[in-house]
């Protein structure tokens, strides 16, 4: 049985926040895309994987420092996200949601096995991008990587919140997500806004991919599946389509996982996560923050 000292719990909370903020970054893309075209983009985790590979290539082959590598991966994946939407989802916008969902699963397989073909199924090791410093703050051991993950995630979330709330494109995204026809009548080009949403969501996923790569050191073509699924759970947990919900859901999921592990049930970690999803959805089907139904007068 684990030793339940205060230090131990704090340490686990820190780990939970680290992994949870990565889930949150991926969950944001799920929730934004769902909010705007009501599609569960099952290829989203694989976009994260591509982001990890771009980050790996930048650091391991091109010897770029962390920040430029992160930005390159984000840029590359935002383009990829736009292309995926235009090629695979846009032609299906007026067909059934099931058709689009199946296509998303198809895109997911395409990215996974396309990458296996291109870069081989072997896992790759990230070069040590960060110093292996561990800071001892009181009883806590804080890894340099933890600090980077939490800082990068918070910065990106703050930026996203500002963009969505105050910028022209942000207002357009909210308008399109609420009522596409009314948005078009305002003179908003709905297709461009959908592309922008995919670009932003995919860039966040790429950031998550690079962070996972540098944190866990190894990457592989199938690395997107489990975090992708968990991020989807996080998005639903927080209330799908709601941006703060994705952030909250990601953190909640990360903390739960770590606490389930810490309580000595580490093999039950994933089961615990999904159990929580089921319970929340039974009690509150719209998710933690999904209280408001639309006002239709």
């Amino acid at each position: 049985m684990a030793n339940l000292s205060v230090e131990f719990v704090l340490q686990q909370l820190l780990n939970g926040i680290s992994i949870g903020s990565i889930y949150a970054l991926i969950a944001l893309g799920y929730t934004m895309v769902y909010g705007i075209i009501q599609l569960i983009n099952f290829a989203h985790g694989d976009v994260m994987m591509i982001g990890a590979y771009v980050g790996w290539y930048c650091t391991a082959v091109l010897h770029m420092p962390f920040l430029p590598a992160l930005l390159t991966a984000m840029l590359a994946c935002s383009l990829l996200g736009v292309v995926i939407e235009r090629v695979a989802y846009k032609p299906l916008r007026r067909s059934t949601r099931l058709a689009a969902l199946i296509t998303a699963i198809g895109v997911s397989f395409f990215l996974e096995y396309g990458m296996m073909f291109l870069v081989s199924p072997q896992t790759r090791t990230f070069p040590p991008v960060f110093p292996q410093t561990i800071y001892h703050v009181g009883p806590l051991n804080i890894k340099y990587g933890d600090i980077v993950i939490i800082t990068v995630t918070l910065a990106l979330m703050a930026l996203l919140t500002l963009v969505v709330k105050y910028t022209r494109i942000g207002k357009a995204m909210r308008a399109v997500s609420f009522d596409k026809d009314a948005a078009a009548l305002m003179g908003i080009d709905v297709n461009n806004v959908i592309s922008a949403t995919f670009a932003i969501g995919s860039a966040l996923a790429a950031a998550a991919g690079v962070l996972i790569g540098v944190y866990y050191n190894t990457i592989g073509p199938l690395m997107g599946i489990m975090p992708g699924l968990k991020a989807f759970v996080a998005a639903v947990l927080g209330g799908i389509g709601i941006i703060p919900g994705a952030m909250l859901g990601g953190l909640a999921l990360g903390l739960t996982e770590v606490l389930v592990s810490a309580a000595g049930f580490s093999t039950w970690r994933d089961a615990g996560a999904f159990l929580i999803l089921i319970v929340v959805l039974i009690v509150k089907p719209t998710g933690l923050l999904g209280a408001n139904t639309r006002e239709k007068v």
Binding site: R174, A175, D181, A184, L185, G187, I188, D189, R294, V297
Partner: protein, 234 residues
């Protein structure tokens, strides 16, 4: 200013507009009246680019609208206040107005027009930072019209602005419509409330199951026995 010629529109297999032709001249208030399902809203949606005609031509200020996208049509200063208001209920009043000015880059002009909207609708100024979904029905209609004004329309399409409003508010909305026309905006008005519509309009067209069955000056139609019987309650 706006000319429709033999316009046919379908919803899937349903033939909603069966070759309608009408025109609106600069400075006029023209109304389309008719019962539920006659195709009035369909006509407006087709003009503003939400629906595509399968046949026929639509020109506006000398430009062909038939293949133009909704944002492209807004750029030509043609704005549509849709049926049911369709305000962005999860955003504030101010944000709704900002979205109305989405295509504009002249911050000063936008500010001036917002001031004009608040002058027309003082209630909106009081509720500027309030979420639009919490407004009353009348206030939401004011917001929908104000939002459209923010795009500086030369032609304004109004779909059922009186729907679901108390008589005193209906009167108020129609007063505003007169004011907007006086300020130089041409108006195409769709209404089920034929009496109010005819009282404000210069000319009118009567739609029945996708066809224009009657047209003429508003006063003339007001006194026509067919119109009185079918739309004005005898």
């Amino acid at each position: 200013m706006l000319q429709l010629e033999n316009v046919h529109v379908y919803y899937g297999a349903i033939h909603a507009l069966k070759g309608i032709s009408f025109h609106v001249e600069e400075g006029e208030i023209v109304t389309l009246i008719g019962s539920n399902g006659a195709g009035k809203s369909t006509a407006l949606k087709t003009i503003s680019g939400l629906l595509r005609p399968r046949e026929g031509t639509m020109t506006y200020v000398g430009r062909d609208l038939t293949a133009m996208s909704a944002p492209g049509i807004v750029r030509l200063k043609l704005s549509h206040v849709p049926e049911g208001r369709r305000i962005f209920a999860n955003m504030t009043v101010q944000e709704n107005l900002d979205l109305g000015a989405y295509q504009r880059r002249d911050a000063q002009g936008v500010k001036k027009d917002a001031a004009y909207v608040f002058e027309l609708f003082p209630r909106l100024r009081e509720r500027r930072t309030q979420v639009a979904g919490t407004l009353s029905g009348g206030e939401q209609q004011m917001l929908a019209i104000g939002r459209a004004i923010m795009s500086q329309p030369r032609l304004l399409l109004l779909d059922e602005p009186s729907m679901g409003l108390a008589p005193i508010l209906v009167q108020q909305i129609f007063d505003i419509i007169r004011t907007i026309r006086r300020e130089g905006t041409t108006i195409l008005l769709v209404e089920q409330n034929a009496r109010m519509a005819l009282s404000v309009a210069d000319r009118a067209y009567v739609l029945e199951t996708g066809r224009i069955v009657l047209e003429g000056g508003a006063e003339e139609l007001m006194s026509s026995p067919e119109v009185r019987k079918a739309y004005l309650g005898g």
